[in-house]
């Protein structure tokens, strides 16, 4: 074992980390519906544990209950982060069951059930904000980023002094424009990724270890 590795394993190193940083954090994956939150959660789990978080679908509000996995360790060179990862339902300001019928061919009964569960999911996602240490905010890089949901989530997290990483997802799509996201939210790190193909997720992991490992004093709302 080299000197550096011995230092990392030492009690002194652990004391230093306890004083200046966190190595266990509860991280929420947030965003509007259909931006690829569960695809990203699956990607992270597959890369670091071989597991998956949940099913994905082109129909919005596929994730209607928060799901989580504990003790996922991400290694990045000399640093690491152990996290509990929470995949939250998409946050929306409106849910119309007719959209599920008209756009995705679902039956009326199934659409109404899905819409009802989706409203409960939004409430659950918002309540999880009280219990997390950092957020990966997933945005669709092919869409206009200035939605009120994005702005509201960011404003809320800033008020809580929680660290935010913006994952500009779907970068593999032809019309993706991560530069638009970067200019829309210059105050936060924006990492272009494709959760589907895994493109640039190494960079996301590096930023997660860096940003979520910092010690902060979060504000309770």
């Amino acid at each position: 074992m080299g000197l550096l590795e011995r230092f990392r394993e030492s009690r002194f190193s652990k004391i230093i980390h306890k004083m200046f940083g966190k190595n266990h954090a509860k991280i929420g994956i947030y965003g509007p519906p259909n931006v690829g939150k569960t695809t990203l959660a699956n990607r992270i789990l597959r890369d670091w544990t071989g597991d998956i978080m949940g099913s994905v679908s082109e129909v919005p509000h596929e994730t209607r209950r928060a799901k989580w996995k504990n003790n996922i360790r991400i290694d990045n060179g000399g640093s690491s982060l152990t996290m509990d990862l929470v995949d939250t339902p998409g946050i929306a300001t409106k849910i119309d069951f007719k959209e599920f019928m008209n756009m995705y061919g679902m039956t009326k009964d199934d659409s109404r059930v899905r819409a009802k569960e989706a409203t409960e999911g939004v409430i659950e996602a918002i309540r999880w904000l009280d219990d997390i240490d950092g957020v990966v905010l997933v945005m669709d890089a092919t869409q206009d980023p200035f939605t009120q949901v994005n702005v509201t989530i960011i404003g809320n997290l800033e008020a809580r002094n929680l660290p935010i990483l913006i994952a500009a997802n779907k970068i593999d799509a032809e019309n993706a424009s991560p530069a638009t996201l970067k200019s829309a939210f210059p105050q936060h790190p924006v990492i272009p990724i494709s959760a589907l193909t895994g493109y640039n997720t190494e960079n996301l992991y590096t930023m997660m270890v860096k940003e979520f490992g910092k010690k902060r004093h979060k504000q309770r709302r």
């Binding site: 918002i126 702005v151 404003g155 809320n156």
Partner: protein, 125 residues
């Protein structure tokens, strides 16, 4: 929602009207008005925390036959400088438009303009 023959109500709400209300009273007022089919333009919008609470309250109020939620758009809160922060000045919410989602659609929003439209067939001429 009550769609009146005279058209869609568009109410511009002054800062003074809301500033003496608690957050909960403010949200109840807004949600009641929007459920009645009115579109509100708030001179002084909601804080991010209030906006999140509004979304939460809206979800509880959704009735799939009469109220499918809200459309909301506001400018980012005013930034405050270092010295203002030292003296306890917090970010101020700015103008915000809120309406029922079956009537109002956000077309585009950026730092300088919020573009909305009334959904065709719901009162637009």
């Amino acid at each position: 929602m009550t769609k009146k023959d005279s058209g869609i109500a568009f109410n511009l709400i002054s800062r003074q009207k809301l500033e003496h209300l608690s957050s909960l009273e403010k949200l109840q007022y807004i949600l009641n008005e929007v459920k009645e089919g009115r579109i509100l333009v708030l001179e002084h919008g909601l804080t991010p925390t209030e906006q999140t609470q509004l979304i939460e309250h809206t979800m509880k109020e959704i009735n799939h036959d009469t109220f499918i939620g809200i459309e909301i758009g506001g400018y980012e809160n005013e930034k405050v400088g270092f010295f203002q922060r030292v003296f306890g000045v917090v970010k101020k919410p700015r103008m915000t438009v809120i309406g029922p989602a079956h009537l109002l659609r956000m077309v585009h929003k950026d730092n300088d303009m919020i573009e909305t439209t009334i959904i065709p067939g719901k009162g637009a001429s």
